[in-house]
Every structure is written in C-alpha cells, then in structure tokens.
C-alpha cells in the first residue's frame, strides 16, 4: 500500500480529527446511553444541522448557527428529561421533525450551489483544516477534562438523578452540562461527519462499550477507543474506495456495535460470574 498519502496535511488533519472527534463523541455517547436519552441526541444533532444551514443561508458562521440551534433544542428538551416525563418521545418527535424540516427549508431558500450544504449533510473529513482540528481538540479536552473533574457527580447523576439530588449533588446542573457539551461536540464534529450521521458516532461506540463491561470507568475508555477506531477504519475505507467518510465511519461504528452485541457477556445470564468484569476497588 502506498503510505505517502499520510505525508499530506489534509490526511494528517483527517486522522487527528477522527481521533479527537471519536473521543469527544463517544464520551458524550456514554451519557446518552446510560441516561437513556438517545432521542435527545438525535434531536440536537438535527438542530445543529439546521442551525449550520441557517448560518450558510444568512451568511454567518455555520458553527455559530449549529451551536445556537442545538442549544435551543436542548433548552426545550432539557426540562422534559429533567422532570422525568413518562413519554418525552412525543415532544422530541415534534422537535426532531421540525429541525429536519427547517434544515431542508433553509437549504431550499439558499441561493446558488448547494454543495456546502450537502457537505454538512454527509460530512467531508478530508477537507478539514488545521483550525477544525484545533476546535475539535479544544472540545475533546473540555469534555474529557470535565468528566475527570466531576466523575463522581456524573456517576451519581447517571445512576439515579433523584438519588444524586438526595445526597446533595446538583443533578440538574450536571444534566444541563451534559446537554451543553453534547451541543458543543455535535457542532465541532458536524463538518467532519455530517448532520445526518453524527449521532451514530455518538451512540454506537458507547452502545458497544455498554455491552462489554459492568464498570463505568471502563465503559468510558472502551467507548473512546471504539470511537477512535471507527474514525480511523472509516477513514481508511473512505480513502481506499473514494466514498464519503461520514458514511464509512458510521458503518464501521455500527459493525463494532454489532460485534460487541454478539460477543457481549451480558447476553449470557450467568456470564458475569465466571469473569471478573468489574474492577477491584479494594
């Protein structure tokens, strides 16, 4: 195989982008999976997509539009999730379809060529610039840093929000913090992965890790590993077969999830007994 391609800056940017985006997205994914809010992430990623298109149409930065609209979606969704509504899916379904509708409306209203809009839809990691990498690096560092700094508060909130509140932890603040970070992660990954596919990179690695361990720390590490692996394998296939990178990354992450589900020890009723799946704390 000709490896000279790795000498080019666009490829180095793409490799770094998948590494940083994989870590950020998968870490956020652990919250999404364990807090049972996959639909919230879907609604927010489509809101970001609509916001980016609004930016393109009106001539301001798509990143600002994406961040603003995903946070607006979080502001509507957050209280529903926080109150533990029995079926927030109905409201989320309305928001999700509204955002997708707005995205296509902005795309339709946009004058001239739609190539930049389509790029946001499918993602094009090979056109990432050094500033994209820097943004991804900042967000990935913030996400990982906050998880490390507030690990115990996050762990308690994930386990049971009311219980976390009852021991004096600000579970509401943690929940909104998670939604804010989700918005930021989606925004900086949008151009690389694409508005329609970004949510798979959030959900799939974490869902795969969820199948394999009974330790939350290990779940964060495995998810980040799967996120990076999905990005790199996807990038390789994208380059080899000249196909959209967002699609190959998402398909790879889905295959990893499928394999994790097939080989999950959690599927076997007593599988955990034989193996020390938990970290020894003593």
């Amino acid at each position: 195989m000709d490896l000279s391609i790795f000498g080019y800056q666009f490829m180095q940017n793409a490799i770094l982008s998948t590494f940083l985006g994989g870590i950020a997205c998968a870490t956020i994914g652990v919250f999404v999976v364990l807090m049972h809010m996959p639909f919230i992430g879907v609604a927010m990623s489509h809101a970001a997509f609509a916001g980016a298109l609004l930016g393109l149409w009106l001539g301001f930065s798509p990143m600002i539009g994406a961040f603003a609209l995903s946070l607006a979606a979080a502001a509507i969704i957050g209280p529903l999730a926080d109150r533990g509504e029995l079926s927030p899916e109905t409201s989320l379904g309305v928001i999700f379809s509204l955002m997708l509708g707005l995205a296509f409306l902005f795309m339709g209203l946009m004058p001239g060529t739609k190539s930049s809009a389509l790029e946001l839809l499918w993602g094009s990691i090979l056109t990432n610039t050094r500033s994209d990498v820097i943004f991804l690096g900042i967000v990935a560092s913030v996400v990982v840093g906050l998880v490390l700094a507030f690990y115990k508060e996050i762990q308690a909130t994930i386990f049971h929000r009311d219980m976390a509140r009852s021991v004096g932890i600000s579970a509401t603040l943690i929940l909104y913090g998670v939604l804010f970070l989700t918005g930021a992660t989606i925004t900086v990954s949008l151009r690389s992965i694409g508005g329609l596919l970004i949510f798979s990179l959030i959900l799939n690695p974490a869902a795969a890790a969820y199948q394999l361990t009974y330790s939350m720390k290990r779940m964060f590490l495995l998810a980040a590993g799967f996120g990076v692996l999905s990005g790199w394998i996807g990038l390789l296939f994208s380059y080899l077969f000249n196909i959209p990178s967002g699609a190959t990354i998402v398909v790879t992450s889905s295959v990893i999830f499928l394999l994790a589900t097939i080989f999950s020890p959690k599927r076997k009723v007593k599988g955990w007994r034989g193996k020390p799946l938990l970290e020894g704390q003593k």
């Binding site: 508060e153 386990f159 009852s166 021991v167 004096g168 009974y214 330790s215 939350m216 938990l278």
Partner: protein, 260 residues
C-alpha cells in the same frame, strides 16, 4: 425525647393540577421513629420529599435541623438527611457495582473535586456489613433481587452518616420474610445510630412494633397522629382505607398468620 428536628408548618404542595399536601403540619423530635401510613395518593411520599427539600412548597414552611429550608440551602441540608426512595427497576446492565452505588452516599459529604479515600471505602464496607450485603459488594447493582437492592439503598443512605433517615415504602413488592427483615434492620439501625426516622409504608404488619409514633394520612391531610396501639384500631383503618371493618379484620388476621 429530644429536641425538635423537623417542623412542618402548614405545607401545601401541588403537582400540576393535583394537590398532594393540603396544609400539613407535623413536628418530629430527635430520636423519634415515626411510621406514616395511608392509601395511595395520600401525600406520604410528598411529605418525605419536603423534609429533604426535593419537594417544592406552594405555601407553608419546613424547618429541618435548625434551618428553614430555602431554595439555596437544600443541597447542604440534604447531606444530613438520608433518603431511601421507592424501589425502582434498575437497568440490569448498569455498569456499577454494589460498592460503587453505596459510595454515592459519601459524594455529597466529600464535596467537589475530592475523590473517595481509604476512610470512605472503610465506611462503605462497614455499612454493607451492617445491612448483611458484604458478600455481594462487587456484584453489578442491576443483578440484585428487590430485597437486596433495598438493603443496598439503606447502606447508601447510612454511608451518608445522616441525622435524619427517610424511607419511602422500603418493603413494597418484597416477600413477607424480606419485609420483616428490612423493618428489623431499620429499627436496629435507628437505635444504634441515634437517628430520627420517618418510615412510609403500606405494610401494617410489622411496622407498628417498630414505631414509637404513627401518622395516618388521607387525601393530602394528616388524618390521625398518636401511638400505634391507640391509632391502629380496626375502626380507624376501616375509615382510613374506606374498607368495611370485616375486611380490615380479615386482612390483619391474614398478616398475623403469615408471620407465624
């Protein structure tokens, strides 16, 4: 009997259009073991949640451990109030061990940016031993039975080293042997740790023996208050649960037989 530690003054709480408490007043002294019973929707759980500041008052005041509860001091007061909520199904794949779940009880006390140390893990192991769960410390929390999960919830509450102990139907959906085991455990902990305990339940069988005082609730109001022997008559229970006296008698006999 000790000094007053909880004073609820004319508390009114509503969830959307449903009024859960309609002007409830109650005083609890240090060391009291108070049993709270009543039919569904009587406001029992809400009464507990206004003591730990999770419930929002429409009007009235709640005084806990020397302070009136406000929006600002709820977090700090909650650290001294242990709360065992109603049993909820825990995701069997939840990536947390029994020991980690009990450690959550220490998190509020530890405060931000401090990790649990050796002393904290020792306390966790000690309370797990106390509730008879030391053989299951490394097991995933979602793999426990209902009774075991309740014991873990009690251990988590004790790891918090609370002064007030709030239990919301800890015996619900357990078999009668597990029920009496939990009630005995709670009473033993209450005595040995000098706690003030509020115990909400539907289970009339063993609770009266454990309680010093009973509070009967109905339709968001306190319907009766006093010692178990004077309050828990067939006539009172018949009126409380809107049930014929003969039915109350029959059920109480069944419960007594089950305990034999």
């Amino acid at each position: 009997m000790g000094a007053t530690v909880i004073k609820i003054e004319n508390a009114v709480v509503a969830y959307r259009e449903d009024v859960a408490l309609r002007g409830v007043s109650l005083e609890v002294k240090s060391g009291d073991f108070v049993g709270i019973i009543g039919p569904n929707g009587a406001g029992k759980t809400t009464l507990l949640t206004i003591v730990n500041g999770l419930g929002r008052l429409l009007s009235g005041r709640v005084w806990v451990l020397g302070n009136y509860l406000t929006a600002g001091n709820g977090h700090s007061l909650r650290k001294k109030v242990g709360y065992v909520p109603q049993v909820e199904r825990i995701d069997p794949r939840m990536p947390m061990s029994v020991r980690e779940v009990v450690m959550i009880g220490r998190y509020g006390l530890l405060g931000l940016f401090r990790r649990p140390g050796k002393h904290d893990w020792e306390i966790v192991d000690e309370v797990l031993e106390l509730v008879g769960m030391s053989h299951l410390t490394q097991r995933p929390i979602g793999h426990l039975s209902g009774g075991e999960q309740q014991r873990v919830a009690i251990a988590r509450c004790l790891a918090q080293e609370p002064e007030i102990f709030l239990l919301d139907e800890p015996t619900a959906s357990l078999d009668w042997k597990a029920q009496s085991g939990i009630i005995e455990l709670v009473r033993q902990i209450h005595d040995s740790r000098y706690l003030t305990t509020l115990f909400v339940t539907h289970d009339l069988s063993a609770l009266p023996l454990a309680c010093d005082r009973m509070v009967l609730m109905k339709q968001g109001l306190i319907w009766g208050e006093g010692s178990p022997s004077e309050l828990l008559t067939d006539e009172n229970l018949s009126q409380l649960y809107d049930m014929p006296i003969s039915e109350v008698k029959r059920r109480r006999e069944e419960v007594t037989l089950a305990e034999l």
